[in-house]
């Protein structure tokens, strides 16, 4: 049953050291505010799951919070590499990070299987690719009807998933619109689901019947955090801050500069600051 609470409490009650945690968002609706709150609370030894770890995971890895990454594309989308992730993987700074790497197709299927309560997902994938040689969690199953051999990956079942969404209604139902990505599956696959939203509305009575809605009884906690996806975007609310993604490439290039930036923009900041950051990016309703 969804409970409304401040983000600080939602993170504190639902994340703990050593957890397997997904902060999901496929370019759109990345739960930046929740990730920054987790950074402020200083968790350790997390296994961080995400199809597309971008600058949010670069920040968490750079702060030494992760012992393992499970992912399928670790880049700053459209800009380049993740320099803090590179530093951890290549040089063990500030700590070494174990890597479990999949393809997008495999991870999407693994989340889907997690949401569906299955222990594994089968896909026609990885044929000829190098990952099965370096990732022992890529196995195979044989179709009992045709004999075709398919790739198999374990389902993803995070301890906790954090997502950002457009709206909650007063009962705690959550509406996700636009590029919906993998968030529904990530939330349903997790033991606990924490959602930040742009706003809370009365109800979804006027919404089209086939939209992507998570019922309140699938969600653990909801925090209202306007702008909470910045520098990612929220369809219908504000645009992607592409300049910030470009800027990150510089900030993250140097360990000291990274630390200073984190101090100023994350450690000393709070959830309410996100509303200000998106002010100039807001779209006409």
């Amino acid at each position: 049953m969804a409970r409304f609470m401040p983000l600080e409490q939602a993170v504190r009650e639902n994340l703990k050291d050593g957890d397997t945690a997904a902060f999901e968002g496929f370019t759109h609706l990345i739960p930046t505010a929740a990730a920054h709150e987790a950074i402020r609370q200083g968790f350790k030894d997390l296994t961080l799951i995400r199809m597309t770890p971008d600058i949010v995971y670069d920040q968490m890895v750079g702060m030494g919070m992760a012992k393992k990454l499970l992912f399928s594309y670790a880049g700053n989308p459209g800009v380049g590499l993740l320099r803090r992730v590179r530093d951890a993987v290549e040089n063990g700074w500030p700590r070494s990070v174990e890597v479990e790497e999949h393809s997008h197709a495999a991870m999407a299927n693994a989340y889907e299987a997690g949401a569906a309560g299955l222990p594994f997902a089968a896909l026609r994938g990885y044929r000829g690719a190098g990952l099965p040689e370096v990732n022992p969690n890529i196995k195979s199953v044989t179709c009992p009807f045709t004999g075709e051999k398919l790739a198999a990956v374990p389902s993803v079942r995070p301890d906790v998933t954090f997502i950002h969404a457009q709206k909650a209604d007063k009962k705690g139902n959550v509406l996700i619109e636009g590029i919906i990505g993998i968030q529904k599956e990530a939330a349903l696959a997790a033991k606990r689901a924490v959602v930040t939203v742009e706003e809370v509305v009365e109800d979804f009575a006027d919404a089209h019947p086939n939209l992507c809605i998570l019922p309140h009884w699938t969600i653990t906690a909801i925090a209202e955090v306007p702008g909470g996806a910045h520098p990612s975007y929220t369809h219908g609310y504000y645009d992607r801050d592409n300049a910030s993604y470009l800027e990150w490439d510089d900030v993250s290039a140097d360990r000291d500069r990274f630390r200073a930036w984190m101090e100023d923009n994350v450690l000393k900041a709070k959830a309410e600051d996100f509303a200000v950051r998106v002010e100039k990016l807001r779209v006409a309703k």
Partner: protein, 258 residues
Amino acid sequence: MNDFTPNEMMTIAASRALTSQDVCFVGIGAPSAACNVARLTHAPDITLIYESGTIGTAPDVLPLSIGDGELCDTALTTVSVPEMFRYWLQGGRITIGFLGAAQIDRFGNINTTVIGDYHTPKVRLPGGGGAPEIASSSQEVYITMAQSKRGMVEKIDFFTSFGHGDGGDQRKKLGIETKGPTLLITDLAIWKPDPETKEFTVVSMHPGVTREMVQETCGWKVKFADTLEETPAPSELELKTLRDLKARTEAAHKGQAG
């Protein structure tokens, strides 16, 4: 107007390979530009699909990521990521998977994962994303990249996505029924796989390009087709379309401040 950069020639040559009948799974970067130039010129009915779930999208500016809002705003429909990879890619509905590459070999195998050893990499690259299955499930694969000895190598460090392996019928032997890479468009030339060996062979050089230029920027001994064509220079319309698109894109991405 007859001045154009090798990169512009590359994008425009790539765009010409696409038709209005294609359903194209678009990688970011050069493929995205080529696909949208095709859509804005000779292939208005092409279906562009980005792995974020946007189907039939028609962006006015090029997306910085595969999930920019513009892609959703202009799409016919936007589906979830698992649906994208299950029903649309694995379902066999993509005619052309369009990929870029950090490293490629002569058989169209691609590496975007690591430079050096996988477990102790010299450079940790972003990884495959959708590429492993785009390469195996799309009916054909087109690749576009600028030539360099660092990028076009004798032996790639990691098989992020499978092209023709060691050549010949190795795809089939691995149970991959699709055609694989059938076209490579660089800033200097157009390459197609040899029908037998599947080694990429230069079939057309862009205006002003010499065999030496192609060889100097390629890490393997280049094969040239017996009859070598010259890629037609960009038309005025093509060049204007591409430059307008780039200008709109730059304005849009710079116009935002955190």
